[in-house]
């Protein structure tokens, strides 16, 4: 009864009013002014949501949000942010309040999304220009998190005649990414590296010794926000003969640091090692077995491991421990080849941890 009376008043009041609809991009709100006395009945959210409806494009239902009446201005604030660069339609339907009034329609377009700097490839490992023919992994680092799906469709390996190398990489669902999706690991198809495996016998190594190749990450590759890379990324390299030599820890050259300083400990492995493993699988311990904390960087195309301790070195002995899982570019481990030949009794050597002692000097 009370509501009916309000409606009657509103009808009378609306006759001479000309509402105006406007979109405010700064606040992402839709505002209707000039409602006159009709405004009074729009304090009820349910009624307001019938009278003022905002639609994305030609979607069948109106957006949810809050309706706020301030004086004679009705403001709609959508629950979720409006999408950039899209068309919206506002319908102001006062026909229940003023039977002769046709619904008003107002359209607006939101500003396009700001273009951020394109995502790009920051590093590729191995970083050297020469790699062994039985190279096992390539790491690609991106400047932002990437879309995980279908990554191998966007990466090509081509030889010097621009012919693509087919089945070069192991295909895995979604690709092998770190949790943040910024580092992609490409595995060369192990079937093509291992002798005696049918893929190897049929197709041979993906990389031919003496050849020149280019790894191309296509500009269509999408980051996690669906934005393509700005440009193709290309890394060229030459291929050396196969490496079937274990990295020999005894051959490593250790530049011991001076005691009571935070000078770097530098370990020269004399051959490039797998970037991710070299960074992670070497540690320094004091004689009591406590791990020495510090920062690691790799140098000289991943042949050198450089370590700066958090605290100054003490005088005396330290131990450098290289985990058994450490690998060179071809997957050979310190005491076990990628293709370790079985001994006469059928046993194969297992990779084991290597320990090297060094002394700080005074």
């Amino acid at each position: 009864m009370i509501l009916a009376a309000v409606v009657a008043v509103a009808v009378a009041a609306l006759a001479g009013n000309h509402p105006t609809i406007a979109y405010d991009a700064a606040t992402q709100t839709v505002n209707v002014s000039g409602l006159g006395d009709a405004a009074a009945s729009l304090q009820d959210q349910r009624i307001a949501s019938q009278v003022l409806r905002v639609y994305l494009g030609d979607m069948p239902s109106a957006m949810i949000g809050d309706y706020q009446l301030t004086g004679e201005v009705l403001t709609f604030t959508p629950r979720f942010p409006l999408l950039p660069g899209r068309d919206y339609r506002v319908v102001l339907d006062l026909s229940e309040l003023a039977p002769n009034k046709d619904p008003m329609v107002y359209r607006f377009r939101t500003p396009a999304a700001p273009v951020h700097q394109s995502t790009f490839v920051t590093e590729v490992y191995p970083s050297a220009d020469v790699v062994p023919a039985n190279l096992l992994r390539i790491y690609i680092y991106f400047s932002r998190p990437m879309s995980r799906s279908g990554i191998l469709n966007h990466i090509r390996l081509v030889d010097q005649s621009d012919h693509p190398v087919e089945q070069a990489f192991l295909e895995t669902e979604g690709g092998l990414w770190d949790p943040e999706a910024r580092r992609l690991t490409l595995f060369f198809h192990p079937g093509r590296i291992k002798t005696g495996v049918s893929l190897h016998e049929k197709m041979g190594l993906a990389l031919k010794p003496g050849g020149r190749y280019r790894l191309i990450v296509s500009k269509d590759t999408e980051d996690a926000e669906g934005q393509p890379l700005g440009a193709d990324f290309t890394k060229e390299f030459r291929v050396a003969p196969e490496d079937r030599q274990s990295p020999d820890v005894r051959e490593w050259n250790i530049q011991a640091p001076r005691a009571n300083t935070r000078n770097a400990l530098v370990v020269d492995a004399r051959k490039p090692l797998d970037h991710a493993l070299f960074e992670r699988l070497i540690r320094v311990e004091d004689p009591a077995g406590n791990v020495v904390r510090g920062a690691v960087t790799l140098e000289e195309n991943d042949t050198r491991w450089r370590f700066v301790p958090e605290q100054p070195w003490r005088a005396g002995e330290y131990y450098l421990r290289a985990a058994g899982e450490l690998e060179d570019l071809a997957g050979n481990r310190p005491t076990r080849l990628f293709e370790e030949i079985a001994a006469a009794d059928g046993r194969r050597a297992e990779a084991s941890e290597a320990v090297i002692k060094f002394r700080t000097y005074e």
Partner: protein, 383 residues
């Protein structure tokens, strides 16, 4: 459809007359904004009370959604292009609409859904909706097919904590998600108690919590262990994905299912606080599969449980086969095994199922041909 102002005005007193009074225990409820971090799981309790499980916030809310007008025969329901309709409300394209859970109010037959804008966020196989986004919108679909938001900014509710939930930092590497999203993996209410499955921060993570309602104190918490026939080992890590309180030969029991799909029974009497409880694996429904929902119904005086699955279709287990001496699977099983089950003809593409009156079930399903998400009801009919 458009509801005129005058009809709205008429509707208000009509509703008020038919509405039954709120239950007395609501004296202890707060009125105000319900601030959940994720509307992770839904289930209905007594008197039209909706329980909302918030995995991220590690809380459970009991909400009076002001929906107690009985509807005994709701008729047929067929809502097409649900994601288009909800997309309009959320201001996104249909392809970004993600439905997280469904519950049917047994009194009014209104269907409740939780939704987010998260469907574009799936990155790897095996992710579930709660893995990729937090639902923030509660929706109600009436028997007439009208979709409305249920606003939570001024509701009557009470809340209880989920103690020692899965740590926010623990990652589940194989599906690139956080264990915390499964702090509450399913909920069900029976005999005055709210059962809450999920992951705790204990060594044996899989947990069943039991709360009195109205909430009085922290619920009980039991760690769960099962033998997984298709994995060939005992497991305590994976959460129960869907479960139902049922009676087996009169004994209150939880019928529960897990990824890759063991079907397990836990006698409710065993669920004592801080106890480690071993379930009895009574079937393997097939590997490579999520069980998504369970619903119990009656047909010709017999009870049945329908289990809807991500990849193994809809599976029907009868009261008859549950009342026989039950198998106890404790050795590896290839394929399927255990109690007998059927694959009945249903609507296909089912993600959630619920009771819709005594004679009908309602399904949230994706049509295989036109790709639409739909809500459809079907009369229960078994050969």
């Amino acid at each position: 459809m458009r509801l005129g102002l005058l009809s709205l005005a008429l509707l208000v007193p009509a509703l008020a007359a038919a509405e039954t009074k709120p239950p007395a225990y609501e004296a202890g409820f707060n009125v105000g904004p319900l601030k959940a971090q994720s509307l992770s799981k839904l289930t209905f309790g007594p008197d039209g009370i909706l329980f909302i499980g918030d995995s991220i916030g590690a809380r459970i809310f009991a909400v009076d959604v002001d929906d107690r007008t009985p509807v005994s025969d709701p008729g047929k329901l067929n809502v097409s292009d649900l994601e288009g309709k909800i997309g309009g409300m959320l201001g996104v394209d249909a392809r970004d609409v993600l439905i997280h859970d469904m519950a049917v109010n047994p009194i009014s037959k209104n269907i409740y859904l939780t939704a987010s804008r998260g469907r574009h966020s799936f990155t790897v196989d095996w992710q579930l909706p709660n893995d990729v986004a937090n639902a923030s919108v509660l929706l109600r679909i009436s028997p007439k097919g009208e979709i409305q938001e249920v606003r939570l900014d001024k509701v009557k509710f009470s809340a209880t904590e989920v103690s020692n939930p899965a740590n926010e930092k623990v990652e589940i590497d194989w599906k690139k998600t956080k264990a915390r999203v499964d702090a509450i993996s399913d909920m069900a209410f029976a005999d005055g108690k709210l059962f809450v499955a999920g992951l705790s921060n204990e060594e044996f993570a899989s947990t069943m919590r039991v709360y009195d309602f109205p909430f009085s104190k922290n619920g009980s918490s039991s760690s769960l262990e099962i033998y997984h026939g298709s994995h060939g080992k005992y497991e305590t890590e994976a959460p129960v994905r869907t479960f139902l309180p049922i009676r087996i030969n009169g004994k209150p029991t939880l019928l529960a299912s897990y990824l890759c799909t063991p079907l397990v029974v836990f006698p409710i009497d065993d669920l004592e606080d801080k106890k480690h409880v071993k379930g009895r694996t009574i079937a393997e429904l097939g590997d490579g599969n999520y069980p998504l929902d369970m619903v119990e119904f009656q047909f010709k005086n017999k009870k049945y449980v329908l289990i809807v699955n991500s990849k193994r279709g809809d599976i029907l287990v009868s009261e008859d086969s549950l009342s026989q001496p039950l198998p106890n699977i404790t050795s590896p099983i290839e394929g399927t095994g255990g109690i007998p089950f059927d694959h009945p003809r249903t609507v296909g593409g089912v993600l959630h199922a619920g009771n819709y009156g005594e004679k009908n079930l309602v399904f949230l399903r994706r049509d295989g041909f036109n790709g639409e998400l739909q809500l459809v009801t079907r009369e229960i009919d078994l050969p």
